[in-house]
C-alpha cells in the first residue's frame, strides 16, 4: 500500500479522499430513446396482431392442442432425432474417410459430400419419395449372378416416413461430416503423437483422445444443425410423411384457415427449438471440462456471475500461485 501512495506523487488539493467521491457513469441518452421507440413499435405490432380478426385466435386455440397436431409433432420429433443420429454416425464415418491417407476412401467420402450437399434437399426428398419409379424392387445379392439374399418391393420398404428419414439423414451426413472433420483437425497433432507413444492404436486414439477434444468445436454447429433439422422436417410434407407441417397443411386444405394454422405450427416449432437449446448447453459444459474455466458454469450462472467469478477464481488459485504462472 505504501508504494501506491508513493507513486501518485502530490496528493490531490481537494479535501475529500478519492475513495469518498461519487462516481457518475456515462449517460447514453440516444440509447434510451432508441429503446423506447423500439419497445413502442413492438407493443404496436403485438396489439395489432391481437386485435386482427383475420388471425382467428379461436382457431389457433382449437388446434393448438389437437390430437392431429400431437401426432404430427411425434413424427417431427422422431424424424429429427433419427435423421440427426444417421447424420452424426454416417457423417463421422465420412469425416474419417476424408481424413484417411487412402485415396479411394478420401475420394468416396468427397464424392458423397459433393452429391448430397450439392443438390437441394427438396429434390432429394422428392427423389427418395419416388425412388420406386427408378427401382421397382430392392434386391441384395451378388452382382452379375442370380444369387439374391433379399428381395422386396421398393414401395413397401420406402414408406413416406422412411423416404423422408433417408433424405434428411443422408443430407445431414454430408454437412455433419464437414463439421466433424473441422473438429478433428482442430485437435493438435501432438495429442495423437502422445497417444501413439503410449501404445494406443489409431482407433482408440480417435475415440479416447481426439474426438472428445473435437467435441468442443463440433457441438455448437451441431446444435445449429439440430435446430435446422427440426425445421427442415417441414419439407417432407411434400411427400406427406405426416409430420407436423403435413398435418397442418391437411387441416388448412379443408378449412382454409391458412394463417391461424401456420401460427399453430410456428408456436410449436418455437417451443421445440427452445427446448433443444437446453441439452446443447449441457453438452458444451460436459465437453468443456478442463478446457476453460467458464466451461464449468451453466449459461445462467455465467450471466449472473459476472465479475464475481474472477474474484473467486483468484482465491482458489492463490495456494499454488507460486508455480501456476499461466
Amino acid at each position: 500500500m505504501t508504494t501506491t501512495t508513493a507513486c501518485t506523487g502530490t496528493p490531490p488539493k481537494d479535501h475529500a479522499a478519492p475513495e469518498d467521491l461519487a462516481v457518475v457513469p456515462v449517460r447514453h441518452y440516444g440509447r434510451w430513446i432508441a429503446a423506447v421507440v423500439a419497445f413502442a413499435a413492438l407493443i404496436g405490432l403485438v396489439g395489432s396482431l391481437a386485435k386482427n380478426h383475420n388471425l382467428h385466435w379461436d382457431v389457433v386455440r382449437h388446434y393448438l392442442f389437437a390430437g392431429l397436431i400431437f401426432d404430427g409433432l411425434a413424427t417431427t420429433l422422431w424424424l429429427t432425432a433419427a435423421a440427426m443420429a444417421i447424420g452424426l454416425g454416417l457423417g463421422t464415418l465420412i469425416a474419417v474417410m476424408r481424413l484417411s491417407t487412402s485415396p479411394v476412401l478420401y475420394g468416396l467420402g468427397t464424392l458423397f459430400v459433393w452429391v448430397f450437399r450439392g443438390t437441394p434437399l427438396l429434390v432429394q426428398i422428392i427423389f427418395w419419395g419416388y425412388a420406386a419409379a427408378l427401382y421397382k424392387y430392392v434386391m441384395i445379392g451378388i452382382p452379375f449372378t442370380d444369387i439374391t439374399f433379399f428381395r422386396a418391393e421398393t414401395n413397401s420398404l420406402l414408406t413416406p416416413a422412411i423416404a423422408a428419414l433417408l433424405a434428411l439423414g443422408l443430407n445431414e451426413a454430408a454437412y455433419t461430416s464437414e463439421i466433424v472433420r473441422a473438429g478433428i483437425q482442430s485437435v493438435d497433432t501432438g495429442q495423437t503423437e502422445a497417444a501413439h507413444s503410449l501404445g494406443m492404436r489409431p482407433a482408440l486414439t480417435m475415440r479416447r483422445v481426439v474426438l472428445p477434444q473435437a467435441m468442443r468445436v463440433i457441438i455448437p454447429p451441431l446444435g445449429n444443425e439440430t435446430i435446422n433439422m427440426l425445421k427442415m422436417t417441414a419439407l417432407v410434407s411434400v411427400i406427406s410423411a405426416h409430420d407436423l407441417m403435413s398435418n397442418i397443411q391437411d387441416v388448412y386444405a379443408q378449412n382454409y384457415q391458412v394463417i391461424p394454422m401456420l401460427v399453430v405450427a410456428s408456436l410449436w416449432y418455437l417451443a421445440l427449438v427452445t427446448l433443444l437449446s437446453i441439452p446443447q448447453a449441457w453438452l458444451e459444459r460436459r465437453y468443456g471440462r478442463g478446457a476453460s474455466r467458464a466451461g464449468h458454469l451453466s449459461p445462467l450462472q455465467r450471466m449472473l456471475a459476472g465479475s464475481a467469478r474472477t474474484s473467486t477464481k483468484k482465491s482458489k488459485n492463490s495456494d499454488n500461485s507460486k508455480e501456476a504462472d499461466r
Binding site: 493438435d188 501432438g190 495429442q191 503423437e193 502422445a194 497417444a195 501413439h196 507413444s197 503410449l198 501404445g199 494406443m200 492404436r201 489409431p202 482408440l204 479416447r208 483422445v209 472428445p212 477434444q213 465437453y287 471440462r289 478442463g290 478446457a291 476453460s292 474455466r293 488459485n317 499454488n320 508455480e323 501456476a324 504462472d325 499461466r326
Partner: protein, 254 residues
Amino acid sequence: MSAPMVHARGVRKHYGKLEVLKGIDLTVERGQVCCLLGPSGSGKSTFLRCINHLEKVDGGRLAVDGHLVGYRRHGNRLHELREQEVAQRRREIGMVFQRFNLFPHMTALENVMEAPVRVSGVGRAEAHKTAQRLLDRVGLGDRAAHYPAHLSGGQQQRVAIARALAMKPKLMLFDEPTSALDPELVGDVLDVMRQLASDGMTMVVVTHEIGFAREVGDTAVFMDEGVVVEAGDPKRVLVQPEQERTRAFLAKVL
C-alpha cells in the same frame, strides 16, 4: 551379452528432397543416459522420433532391444509391422514431448491412468493406485485431480513423465523436455529426470541443458546437419571437444 537398448547403423531420413538424417550411427547400452545435442535443424529430434516409429526410417538399420524398429524379420525378408504391432512395441518406449501434450480433457490422474487401463488392460483400482504413486514420485500427489490447464508448465511436464512411466517402459525418450518451460521451472523437471537416471532407466535425451548432459549423461552425442559430429564421454565432448563444429556450438550456448 544382450543387445544394446538402441542400436543405429546408417539411419537415413528425408522429407521430399531434404535429407534430415544422413547416416546416423549410435549405440545406447542398457541403463545408460545418452544426451543428444546440437543446433536446431540438426536432426536430433527426428532421430529420437524414429526410435519409437513416430517417423519412418528411410534407410539403414535401427533396432530397439534387439528388434528392428517398424519391421519383423521372417527368414531373409523384413515385413513391415501392422498398426497393432507398432503400438505393441511403442508400449515399451516412453516419450516425453517438448510441449507436454497432456490430454487436456482428463485430470492429471486420468492422464496417467489412461494407457494402463485402455492399452494394457490393468484394472481401474490398480491403475489408480499406480498412478497416484507415480504422481507422488514426481512430487505432484496433491495435484491428481487438477486438469492440465490448471497446472504450470513444469507441473504438466512432470505429469507427462509420470504418464510415460505408467506403461513401465524399458526406454525413455525425452524431446527437449525443458525447452518450453520458464527458467525457474526447469529445475524440478531435471530433478525428476536425474532421479529416473539414478534408478537405472535407459534414457535418450534431446536437450539444450549442457549442465544436465555433463552431470547425468553417460554419453553425449553432438549432431549437426544430419550427422553425428562427435560422441563420447560428456566430460570430454562438452568440455574439450575435438571438432571445430562442436566447439563453435558450445561457445554459442554456454
